[in-house]
């Protein structure tokens, strides 16, 4: 590079070392920095790289001229070899064959203020050359310098490419991770947060934020949410308000933007340029991704930054749509189950709302014993459908007011297996089958249908068994009156280790039944209304 500063020219430094072994002292000429020795440690440097020599070179060589002689004879025994490195900016001082022998050298050294004998002693090792040898050497040295410079340039290119490559790798990793997370629709809030965080790390943004508006099709985890990853120079509340009002403006003009400080409130708050891209859902703007506060050498947004923010906004749009559809489907699925189980329970006024209450109690108990969200959800579904097999039991048996005969009881005992058989063909129900099949097993092994005992009974079955029995005892049935709360809980505790898993009864009696009691009241009212309606008809 023609403009490389003399202080930083690694190729020249390496070349200088080689020249020492040839007995050459290097000077460098730069249009604005002037003439300077490359180093001061060459043999004979106190003279050949000294100030007196600089004055002499400046006087004798027309440095600014493009037509410098390749080899200038400064004196009978001292030559300035102008290296052909494409710039004529490096001068090698080399001694002639007779250096130190004639009067010229002694006079020169004395005139420069050195004792000729001591200079000669120091320069004893320095090679001396004929003019012909210097011509050949000049060519070789020039080639060498050019090669070293080219090598440096190539190294720089390799470094640049390595940087770009590692950056591209980070970009690809980010996009790959986004692709993978796309399928995880259970927790859209966490996923969005994590994508913002990854974008921030990959591109050296100070912060990345996402703002969603209230939208009827949005999922609760994203609806109206504001997410910020990183540090903001302003208060988070001020930023939140600014991004909400920005999102409203985007309803009119839904293009990507680059906000500049001094031109937009949000950029002023952030104290930096802000890249923003709207998030679209079915053609509507439902949110916006914002990124700013770039750190590093170049604090301005690059084309790579805008491209990634754009990619992430469109990814979040698709993700938002998928999450909303997933949410809608799940609601519809559960809604259908609720309708089916409610219809079933409604066949008998005494069991009205039973499945819904058992499902609710199961989630409470699951939460109390520390199961995760996914298991709680499965238990809820399992509770909703646990009695679906009663479809296959004659109504005369189900609604019978007196004591059941053994034959009738055998029919009742079939309902877990019937329910299991109905549901086992539905792919989404695989995880809840245990609860349906085993909710009448007993801890002591005297239950049905398989007479399993202890921990051989799947957990869902053990949980539903407690909840099912509790609800049955707490409500009036065709064959008996409801028992009081105290009495029911005592009975549950009494049956720990015989009918119930003893690890579950303690947590169960500790539950808060207030919402359960509201459910009971609601279900009774609707049963009474229906009873009155059918009497009137």
């Amino acid at each position: 590079m023609a403009d490389a500063s003399p202080q930083h020219d690694p190729a020249l430094s390496r070349f200088n070392q080689r020249c020492h072994t040839l007995g050459a002292t290097l000077w460098r000429y730069h249009r604005s920095h002037g003439l300077a020795p490359v180093t001061h440690d060459a043999p004979g440097a106190q003279w050949l790289a000294g100030d007196a020599m600089r004055v002499r070179l400046e006087k004798q060589l027309d440095l600014a001229s493009a037509n410098l002689e390749p080899i200038e004879e400064l004196d009978t025994d001292l030559f300035a070899v102008i290296l052909d490195d494409g710039q004529h900016s490096v001068i090698a001082l080399m001694l002639g064959e007779s250096a130190g022998q004639g009067a010229g050298f002694n006079e020169d050294a004395s005139a420069a203020g050195f004792h000729p004998a001591s200079v000669l002693q120091e320069m004893g090792q320095v090679s001396r050359y004929s003019v012909d040898q210097l011509r050949s050497l000049r060519k070789t040295m020039s080639w060498s310098l050019r090669d070293l410079r080219q090598l440096d340039e190539q190294n720089t290119t390799v470094d640049d490419l390595t940087d770009q490559l590692s950056h591209s790798y980070e970009n690809i990793t980010l996009l790959y991770r986004m692709g993978r997370t796309m399928s995880n629709l259970q927790s859209p809030g966490i996923i969005t947060q994590s994508i913002c965080s990854q974008l921030r790390d990959t591109q050296d943004f100070g912060w990345v934020a996402a703002q969603f508006r209230h939208d009827e099709e949005s999922v609760p985890e994203l609806d109206g949410q504001h997410m910020l990853v990183g540090e903001m120079p302003c208060s988070p509340e001020a930023f939140r308000r600014a991004s909400e009002s920005l999102l409203e403006q985007l309803q009119e003009d839904s293009w990507s933007k680059l906000l500049q400080v001094g031109e937009h409130e949000l950029a002023d708050l952030a104290g930096s340029e802000v890249i923003l891209d709207p998030i679209h859902h079915d053609g509507r703007v439902v949110g916006v991704v914002m990124a700013g506060g770039k750190t590093g050498d170049d604090a301005e947004a690059t084309s790579n930054d805008t491209q990634l923010v754009d990619a992430i906004a469109s990814f979040l749009g698709t993700f938002h749509e998928n999450a909303a559809r997933f949410h809608e489907q799940r609601n519809m699925f559960i809604g259908t189950l609720e309708a089916v189980s409610a219809a079933l329970d409604a066949k008998d006024r005494y069991t009205r709302g039973h499945s819904e209450r058992v499902a609710y109690l199961a989630t409470l108990l699951a939460e109390a014993i520390g199961l995760d969200e996914q298991e709680i959800e499965r238990l809820r579904i399992s509770g909703l459908v646990h009695d679906v097999g009663k479809i296959g039991v004659p109504e005369a048996v189900l609604g019978k007011t007196g004591r059941l005969t053994d034959k009738e009881f055998e029919k009742i005992k079939k309902h877990p297996r019937i329910g299991y058989n109905i549901l086992k063909g539905i792919p989404k129900m695989q995880d809840v089958l245990d609860g349906v099949l085993y909710h009448h097993e007993r801890w002591d092994g005297r239950g049905y249908p398989d007479k399993l005992a202890g921990e051989a009974i799947p957990l869902y079955g053990r949980i539903l068994a407690v909840c099912d029995t509790f609800d049955a005892m707490s409500s009036t049935r065709s064959y008996r009156q409801a028992m009081g709360r105290e009495e029911v809980l005592e009975e549950i505790l009494r049956c720990a280790g015989s009918q119930f898993d003893p690890a579950l009864t303690g947590p169960f009696v500790g539950l808060d039944f207030s919402f359960y009691d509201e459910m009971v009241t609601r279900h009774q009212q609707s049963a009474n209304e229906q009873g009155q309606a059918s009497q009137a008809a």
Binding site: Q164, S256, L258, E300, A301, S303, N304, Q307, D310
Partner: protein, 134 residues
């Protein structure tokens, strides 16, 4: 305060919206009048009507590539003077013999820093960025 370098018009041709956004914002912020095109054909027509001082164009674009667009402008005596900076992904290096058929003065690799691009624009227009803010 931003100085206004007069009514200097620049054309940005790129099919990627984020590039038009970024380059457009930077050049407008520097006081230039910016027109945009999202494909080569549109850029060709825009260049003929707007007569920009300089074109910043992508290489690969729908309908007509940035290279063909520059080639056609160069072949037409009316527009042969319009110079261009071409943004290319690495690996789309053009040979000097190809560049000679156009008025493309500079190739820049994508991704790029808009600051570098602005410096090159000033340079090609013979403007001094330091004096600009005076």
């Amino acid at each position: 305060m931003k100085a206004h370098p007069g009514p200097i018009t620049l054309l940005i041709a790129d099919d990627e919206p984020h590039i038009r956004l970024l380059v457009g914002a930077k050049l407008r912020a520097a006081g230039f009048n910016v027109v945009v095109a999202s494909n080569g054909q549109e850029a060709l027509e825009q260049a003929r009507t707007s007569r920009p001082a300089l074109i910043v164009t992508d290489f690969q674009m729908p309908l007509l590539s940035g290279f063909e667009m520059c080639q056609r402008l160069y072949e037409d005596p009316d527009t042969s003077e319009i110079r261009a900076i071409m943004l290319t992904a690495r690996g789309h290096k053009l040979r000097p013999s190809e560049l000679a058929k156009t008025n493309i003065q500079l190739l820049m690799d994508k991704p790029f820093s808009p600051r570098d691009l602005l410096m090159h624009v000033y340079d090609m227009l013979g403007m001094n960025p330091e004096a600009k803010s005076a």
